[in-house]
Point group: C2
Chain length 259, copies 2
């Protein structure tokens, strides 16, 4: 059965999109079938996977608004084999206001992804979320099996973690009882910065079972890759960023075996 | 007359909070009276200026919901002389839903800040915004004289700029005709990363008059300062981050003289 994992953190710029793209790519390179759903009006995951803005005629916005049951037109091939994308664009930024009156608005994404998961076309569906805890992110929590939390090794990022965990628990109690935390992954870790070690220590103290062993280093090649529409794994297969996301994929697959 | 400047960019983690705090501090050190309004439910600007979460009994959320005309209880002293704060906390994350039915919701912040500006207690009011173009940010655009845009020297950050400019122009046409761009400031600039020079070249090409000469370098001391509740200017007055924000303050004051 397809597993749906949302990549969430309301703190901005912590590596949500980078993690969705590169974890997706690492899993796809391990011959798993992956779908990345771009649930951020910024459309960064779509760009980073090679789906240009002018190609995005059918997006997650239309799919959720029309409740279309024929999904093929919304699923785009990415720059990576075994990895497809449902893109987004700025139309999505009006969605929250448009459905504000609808009592079932929290389930819009769930109603799209559940049938897709049951069709078993994919091994994993990764949902890239915007930097907020508003409706789009709540919809992702309602429509997912688990949540993957990128945690930037910085002070402000650590401050927001407890609020995120409270929100996950609230959704779990009221809207999606099966929801759980897939894990927390430290990102942009700079070995020269002692602050990073402090953040790591705090995170492992409060979330001893959730923080992955794999830590994603700060690596310039990671930030260069999106301008080529490629994941770093394709852009530079030997850099430290690539190696770290490949290790993360293996650690998650190992975790799946044990569950 | 007090000038109200909002610090806005829907891209996450680009240095909005860091710029609001440190530009505010640099101006306060130049004997100007500064108020920082924290309009982000994350409350990072409040934390970074030394107002702890448990002290925030009265926040911008209560002020806007109650439309209180006595502002003093909402204004907190920061860790910096001449710099006050109206803090925020997670209560603010419910605001957009709570006022969704109110036809005048775009003016909530304007109705608070205008009278305060007319009282001339402050030279500048800086509003730190969340990473989105939703209601809170629209309210800041409606309630401001100008917009300061921190632009991270990265590819994804550049991609979002044209959308931000469209939104600013839309608000200018419909809700706040006096609104203009104060300027664009490049942040987290890493001299070793050729991508940064490419982003700078693009930004100066498309916005030749808006991009400041001052560029904020990537500097570890900037990310260490918030854990001490201090701006970097107080935390380490000789580091490159401090010098850059002091130059930015001078460049903005020079700009003000010419207008
Ligand atoms: N490990 C890393 N090393 C260096 N740069 C990185 C790393 N991870 C991400 N980046 C860069 O940092 C920036 C922020 O990352 P990204 O956009 O993935 O974060 P995000 O959480 O998705 O942001 P948003 O909150 O805006 O959605 C991007 O420019 C990205 O290329
Ligand atoms: N010039 C810089 N050099 C090094 N680190 C920086 C710099 N500017 C900001 N930072 C750090 O980068 C992170 C992101 O900055 P900041 O929180 O100010 O961005 P933001 O745009 O306010 O984020 P959000 O979108 O979540 O509101 C913080 O941890 C901050 O300390
Ligand atoms: Mg993103
Ligand atoms: Mg911020």
């Amino acid at each position: 059965m397809t597993k749906i994992i949302s990549v969430i953190n309301q703190k901005g710029g912590v590596g949500k999109t980078t993690t969705a793209i590169n974890l997706g790519c690492a899993l796809a390179n391990a011959e798993l079938k992956i779908l990345v759903v771009d649930l951020d009006p910024q459309g960064n995951a779509s760009t980073g996977l090679g789906v240009e803005v002018k190609q995005r005629n059918k997006t997650i916005y239309e799919l959720m608004i029309t409740k279309d049951t024929i999904l093929n037109p919304y699923i785009y091939k990415s720059s990576v084999k075994n990895l497809d994308v449902i893109p987004s664009n700025v139309d999505l930024s009006g969605f929250e206001t448009e459905v504000a009156e609808d009592g079932k608005r929290a389930f819009f994404l769930n109603d799209v992804l559940r049938p897709l998961a049951q069709s078993n076309q994919y091994d994993y569906i990764l949902v890239d979320c915007p930097p907020s805890l508003s409706l789009l992110t709540i919809m992702a929590l309602v429509g997912s099996d688990t949540v993957l939390v990128p945690l930037q090794s910085e002070f402000f990022a650590l401050e927001g973690l407890s609020q995120l965990v409270k929100t996950i628990n609230r959704v779990k109690q009221n809207l999606n009882t099966a929801l759980s935390i897939q894990g927390i992954v430290l990102t942009m870790f700079d070995k020269r910065n002692k602050l990073c070690y402090e953040v790591e220590k705090e995170a492992r103290k409060y979330f001893p079972n959730e923080v992955y062993k794999t830590v994603i280093p700060r690596n310039i090649r990671i930030s260069e890759a999106p301008s080529h529409g490629l994941p770093v794994i394709t852009y530079d297969k030997n850099c430290s960023g690539t190696k770290a996301y490949e290790r993360l994929a293996l650690e998650i697959l190992e975790q799946e075996k044990q569950n």
